[in-house]
């Protein structure tokens, strides 16, 4: 079969089983777009800004189990997409980003819409390629999909100069079934000796805790983790990225840990004697002051990325491997062994944890006449029976979503954890909806964040995506305001949002339904109404209490036991 570069690219995507491409056309990808026009197998989703293409592909990848595919043009197409690529990189999300490039003959001449794509994306992608010869195109694309989806996943960029997709240059094509990259062999199976050591250490623990991260979700290890934790009756806490990896409504779940983690999770971290870190990377928002991190703990760390192990915190039993594979091996050892943790010690540990729990650290004023943002999330959780897919932007609303929407299943919470990208929520929700057309998809956002990719309301109308946008509108950049209140003498420097649009009219002008909710008593009714509108996007503009803060809070540079508590929590 003789095909042109553009035909090869499109045919390859079909052969690879790609269903959706999120993109935006431009000069250097016109040959490719012409091929897309001639077929209907691959559905191209036209976004309104390239950043959104990457976020949408990201949301799709997180909730479909397949890599997200992005197609953008050279120059500004690429630079706009960089935020989305970096977001996916920080959260280890598999994307293949195909970028147009100026023709090879003019690369380096500052041609129109030329940027050094490989140079710009090098530090924020897992790997990248510049395809200089059409004969390398199919193999390079195969390598890109392989790299993106194996090992620690991540975005891979393939830069394709315009002449490489020239419709007049045809070469033989066959789908490369397999490829080998001699320098890339991620370790899947954990070292058997280390696994035995880890199991022994777990069994000897008096105050154990599992600290579970995004790796559990990415590896599909929720079931193994749940079985392990229940078998040994070990409490589980999770990072922001790991939420849903262990059922949040289970008694053994202590909630999220870290800067806005629960009192019980952070205290248990501080007091534990054996820490079992699973697919987590000891991020600064989790560890707090590193010198006082889990001062009495011996640490087991399972991660597929050797560079994540002992990066910030020295661990005692490192295990490099795929989380689910390692946990499966551990379970096998445990099933064939009679020994368990000392039940007396474990009982004492749970009693202590229950005392911490009694602080009711997530309490807030339920009698307020103003809408409390926490209540909105709680109601959303109730009304969707915990089954919705929830995307967020970044800030206070993100933390409240993490604290108050109790995720019992993995891959339901879609948030920019590592990079903290405002503008992520709406386009990510679009990708989630394409992957899960029958599910409820809510984007929890704030009036600051939503305006960073608000143009995607137009995309949502074009493809009739019935998302529910839950805008917690406090007329402030809430998290910035909170830090300014706590640490900058309440000098609210540029954290206010004056001259906001009328979001109801805005939603309507994009062809959607808009609602403004100003009283706590109206929360439930509005959410019910919105969820019942199965085929319409509903923009719910909740006017919330401006002064509400996220609690508990560990200030930057403080340790886990130095939490600032909500005035509503019970002091012990």
């Amino acid at each position: 079969m003789e095909l042109s570069g553009a035909e090869i690219l499109v045919q390859f995507l079909k052969d690879e089983g790609v269903e959706y491409v999120f993109g935006y056309p431009g000069g250097s990808v016109l040959h490719i777009y012409d091929e897309l026009y001639k077929q209907d197998e691959i559905k191209h989703i036209l976004v309104r800004h390239e950043q959104a293409a990457a976020h949408a592909a990201d949301g799709y990848a997180r909730t479909s189990g397949k890599p997200g595919v992005v197609l953008v043009t050279s120059g500004p197409g690429v630079t706009n997409a960089v935020t989305g690529i970096a977001t996916a990189y920080m959260d280890s999300i598999p994307l293949v980003v195909i970028t147009g490039q100026v023709p090879t003959a003019v690369i380096g001449s500052d041609a129109f819409q030329e940027v050094d794509t490989v140079g710009i994306t090098r530090p924020c992608s897992k790997h990248n390629f510049l395809v200089k010869d059409v004969r390398d195109l199919a193999v390079t694309l195969k390598k890109a999909f392989h790299l993106a989806t194996t090992g620690r996943p991540g975005p891979v960029v393939v830069d394709v100069p315009k002449d490489v997709t020239d419709p007049n240059v045809k070469i033989p094509y066959s789908y490369p079934e397999t490829i080998s990259i001699r320098s890339y062999n991620p370790k899947v199976k954990g070292n058997a000796r280390q696994i035995r050591r880890a199991v022994q250490l777990m069994l000897s623990a008096k105050r154990p805790i599992v600290y579970s991260g995004g790796g559990v979700i990415l590896s599909g290890a929720s079931e193994s983790l749940t079985e392990l934790a229940r078998m040994l009756e070990i409490p589980v806490t999770s990072t922001l990225m790991g939420l849903g990896g262990y059922p949040a409504t289970d008694r053994q779940f202590l909630g999220m840990l870290g800067m806005h983690g629960t009192y019980e999770a952070n205290m248990a971290m501080h007091e534990c004697d054996v820490l079992i870190a699973i697919g987590a990377r000891f991020d600064d928002r989790v560890t707090g002051k590193i010198e006082q991190f889990c001062p009495e703990a011996r640490i087991i760390h399972i991660d597929i990325d050797p560079a994540s192990i002992s990066k910030t915190v020295k661990v005692d039993v490192p295990i490099v491997g795929d989380v689910d594979t390692v946990l499966t091996d551990m379970l096998q050892l445990l099933r064939s062994s009679e020994s368990r943790l000392d039940p007396e010690e474990l009982k004492r540990w749970w009693e202590l944890i229950d005392r911490w729990r009694a602080t009711n650290c997530l309490a807030y004023d339920r009698e307020s006449e103003l809408i409390k943002p926490q209540m909105v999330i709680e109601k959303l959780w109730e009304l969707t029976a915990g089954e919705a897919f929830v995307t967020t932007d970044v800030g206070q609303h993100q933390m409240w979503a993490a604290q108050f929407y109790k995720f019992d299943k993995p891959n339901r919470f879609v948030t920019s954890g590592g990079l903290g990208t405002m503008g992520f929520g709406l386009p990510a929700a679009m990708g989630v909806k394409f992957a899960n057309p029958d599910a409820d998809v809510a984007c929890v956002t704030g009036e600051g964040s939503i305006q960073m990719c608000i143009q995607e309301l137009s995309t949502c109308f074009q493809y009739m995506l019935p998302l529910k946008i839950v805008n917690l509108n406090n007329r402030y950049l809430g998290m910035v305001r909170q830090w300014q209140e706590f640490f900058y003498g309440s000098r609210y420097s540029h954290s206010y949002m004056e001259a906001l649009p009328d979001f109801v009219k805005l939603a309507e002008s994009y062809g959607h339904v808009g609602m403004r909710i100003e009283k706590p008593g109206d929360i439930e009714g509005a959410l019910r109404e919105a969820l019942a509108l199965k085929d319409r996007l509903v923009f719910l503009d909740f006017i919330t209490d401006q002064t509400e803060n996220v609690y508990p809070m560990i200030a930057a540079g403080k340790a886990h036991h130095e939490m600032q508590m909500s005035p509503k929590s019970v002091l012990i």
């Binding site: 001699r182 320098s183 560079a307 002992s310 990066k311």
Partner: protein
């Protein structure tokens, strides 16, 4: 502590900048770097000298290994190894005995005079960094016109080799 890391890396455009970019992005220091293709033209061998605590150097080797283009690496400092630098140094010479002095010094340091001009000599010298420094010191008052040094190259002693 000073570490000398040998890297086999795909001989591809941009591979060097991946390594250099990693060091600048993560704030590691590169004391010297030398790179050239090996007997297998698809591979380059890189010798990189860096300084850092054990934890930092462990991170450096892990991060380097994580680069897709890095095929294999070895921290030469962990075993017996040989290290060499090469220097080309141009000095001003005159009839007042400095010609003889430079030739003599070059012999003592087992260097070669590889260019002789009416008023200048170029000396080629290999050795570890300390030896090259010592040569410069020994030149004393003889004016140096140019110094070119390559980064350190290293290889382990005995059978142990960094190869595919």
């Amino acid at each position: 502590m000073r570490h000398i890391i040998s890297i086999l890396i795909e001989n591809e455009a941009g591979a060097l900048s991946r390594v250099a970019g990693l060091f600048s992005a993560r704030g590691y220091n590169i004391e010297s770097l030398s790179v050239a293709p090996t007997e297998d033209p698809s591979l380059s061998r890189m010798t990189l000298v860096t300084r850092g605590s054990e934890e930092i150097v462990e991170q450096i080797t892990k991060q380097l290994n994580k680069l897709v283009d890095v095929v294999k690496l070895q921290d030469l400092t962990e075993g017996a190894h040989i290290e060499r630098e090469m220097m080309l140094i141009k000095v001003r010479v005159d009839a007042n005995g400095s010609r003889e002095e430079v030739k003599r010094l070059s012999d003592i340091f087992r260097g070669n005079v590889i260019d002789v001009g009416p008023t200048s000599y170029v000396v080629e010298l290999t050795g570890d960094g300390g030896k090259l420094d010592a040569f410069i010191e020994a030149l004393g008052d003889i004016p140096i016109l140019e110094t070119v040094r390559c980064g350190s190259m290293g290889i382990s002693r005995g059978e142990k080799s960094l190869r595919l």
